[in-house]
């Protein structure tokens, strides 16, 4: 812990995210006058006092039961959620394979979607031109290029999304459970692609319930429970601790 090192590609300091139970709609006065500071009684910390540093090229697996803050942590790193406390610093861009098909527009064709998503994630026009064929090959989608995205099967949608986002030239890759979707052949391709990315020295952040995936891709593990970081160490040790605790606390959610 301590100050973030100069080498860290991701540096998370006492990060906290607070959600409110219920009361989605609140009064205008509350919002404008008080902003979103100050604790509220009906809130809970989805993430609390989480700190760690990630060096370039590290491979990190995040474990924890559902609703313990794993996805929130990934969203913080991806920059699509902001911490209420502490800070999250990311050096360079992030290729987020989270909520993966969400960024695609149903009415546009596959071709237009590839251009749009690539562009929104910061891919230059030239880079997109260079990689377009590769993306199409990887997704095995050449026959459907001019089909509206909404008419694709869910497996195809994930293939397109993975193909685009995994082609981003960003130093950090976030992967949230996407590997659970898709058939075995595609999963194998995804694994090969992830191997290639980590071999190139990218930093990989993987959230998964598959112990096999975690052991295969990640050397370092983070274990989240109740929004707190309860273990940070070699993946095998963290998995062992997670397994031990899961047995003592009988399943419930």
């Amino acid at each position: 812990m301590g100050a973030p090192t100069d080498r860290a590609v991701i540096s998370v300091r006492d990060a906290g995210v607070r959600f409110h139970r219920g009361r989605r709609h609140r009064s205008l006065r509350d919002l404008l006058v008080r902003g979103e500071s100050g604790p509220r009684r009906d809130g809970f910390w989805a993430l609390h006092e989480v700190s760690f540093d990630i060096a370039p090229g590290e491979t990190i697996g995040v474990v924890g039961r559902n609703g313990q803050g794993k996805s929130t942590l990934l969203k913080l790193i991806a920059g699509v959620m902001l911490p209420d406390r502490g800070s999250v610093t990311v050096r360079g861009g992030v290729a987020p394979l989270i909520e993966i098909t969400g960024g695609f527009a149903g009415d546009l064709t596959v071709r237009e979607n590839i251009a749009l998503t690539g562009g929104l994630h910061g891919m230059s026009r030239a880079a997109l031109r260079d990689r377009f064929d590769e993306i199409v090959d990887f997704a095995e989608i050449e026959d459907f290029l001019d089909t509206p995205y909404k008419h694709l099967s869910s497996g195809m949608k994930v293939r397109v999304a993975f193909a685009v986002v995994s082609r981003l030239e960003e130093p950090v890759i976030l992967v949230d459970e996407v590997l659970a979707v898709g058939d075995r052949d595609f999963r194998r391709k995804c694994h090969a692609r992830m191997d290639q990315l980590t071999a190139e020295g990218r930093t990989l952040f993987l959230v998964s319930h598959s112990e096999w995936d975690l052991r295969r891709f990640c050397r370092r593990g983070l274990y989240l429970r109740g929004g707190r970081l309860v273990a940070d160490g070699p993946m095998d040790d963290v998995l062992a601790e997670y397994a031990a605790e899961s047995e003592t606390n009988a399943p419930g959610g």
Partner: protein, 283 residues
């Protein structure tokens, strides 16, 4: 913290829990400018959908203001005896209705922009302002593309077109500032307070008659004219009419319009920055 010192500043993304909107007031506009390609992409996509997907394409974007102009022309010149506006009245109407269409479309769409694009907002790390700016610019381009229609009618009715036509440029800039301010203010609020969207629609309907669209500010009698003079649209619409109606511009209105627009942009952007964190959780 040494984090900010190393690496290229553009590539360093720091997000912290403090309420302050980052280092310096210009950080957000700069981040937005940095991702201008994302804006260009979205605007192009909007225009493509607008003009390529339907056979009527271009006609659709000018049809509504044209029809409205026709109706008001009929009501006020054929049914009632017109004493407001200026001759040729149809040109006067169009020069007000086209910018009004931009204003109304941009405010309605920008107010719900974060809500309609929730999926993209949740999955893409672009400055969240992009979703509002995109709406303002798309509607702005539609306005620019509708200007030939205005010129056509000006020629048909032999309106005296002169160099003041260039005042359309500051008019468009002011309109962009005004709608951006309104959009940035409303977009996060609509996510948090859903029924606000309905309030916006009603306010715009009333706002139409509180703006000099079908008449000029000088047609409004004494106690009410103050409302119109304070309306930021007054100055903008006068600038739009300057090329066809000599003496249409009252510079006091334009000055006020600029002041209100810029103030609204600053307020809107501040509120947007302040509510961003909450909005991202609720979306």
């Amino acid at each position: 913290m040494t984090a900010g010192v190393v690496g290229t500043p553009a590539a360093l993304h720091r997000r912290s829990g403090s309420a302050a909107p980052g280092p310096g007031f210009l950080a957000r506009p700069r981040a937005l400018w940095h991702r201008r390609r994302a804006v260009a992409l979205l605007v192009t996509r909007d225009l493509k959908v607008r003009y390529a997907s339907s056979a009527l394409g271009y006609l659709w974007s000018v049809l509504e203001p044209l029809m409205l102009a026709g109706i008001y022309w009929f009501v006020f010149t054929q049914v009632f005896t017109r004493t407001v506006g200026a001759e040729p009245y149809l040109v006067f109407l169009l020069a007000g209705l086209l910018p009004w269409t931009w204003f109304q479309g941009a405010v309605v769409d920008a107010a719900r922009a974060l809500h309609t694009e929730a999926k993209l907002v949740r999955s893409t790390n672009v400055p969240r302002e992009v979703w509002v700016v995109r709406v303002v610019l798309s509607k702005g381009v539609e306005f620019l593309l509708s200007l030939p229609v205005l010129l056509l009618f000006a020629l048909l009715y032999r309106a005296p077109v002169d160099g003041h036509l260039l005042l359309l440029v500051p008019a468009a800039v002011l309109m962009a500032v005004l709608t951006l301010g309104a959009g940035l203010l409303l977009a996060p609020l609509v996510v948090l307070v859903r029924d606000l969207e309905r309030v916006v629609r009603i306010a715009l309907r009333l706002g139409f008659y509180a703006s000099p669209v079908i008449f000029a500010v000088r047609d409004v009698p004494a106690p009410f004219d103050t409302v119109f003079a304070l309306n930021p649209l007054s100055g903008i619409l006068e600038l739009c009419r300057a090329g066809f109606f000599p003496g249409a511009v009252q510079w006091a209105h334009v000055g006020l319009s600029a002041t209100v627009s810029i103030t609204l942009l600053l307020v809107g952007w501040t509120v947007f920055a302040r509510l961003e964190r909450t909005v991202l959780k609720e979306i």
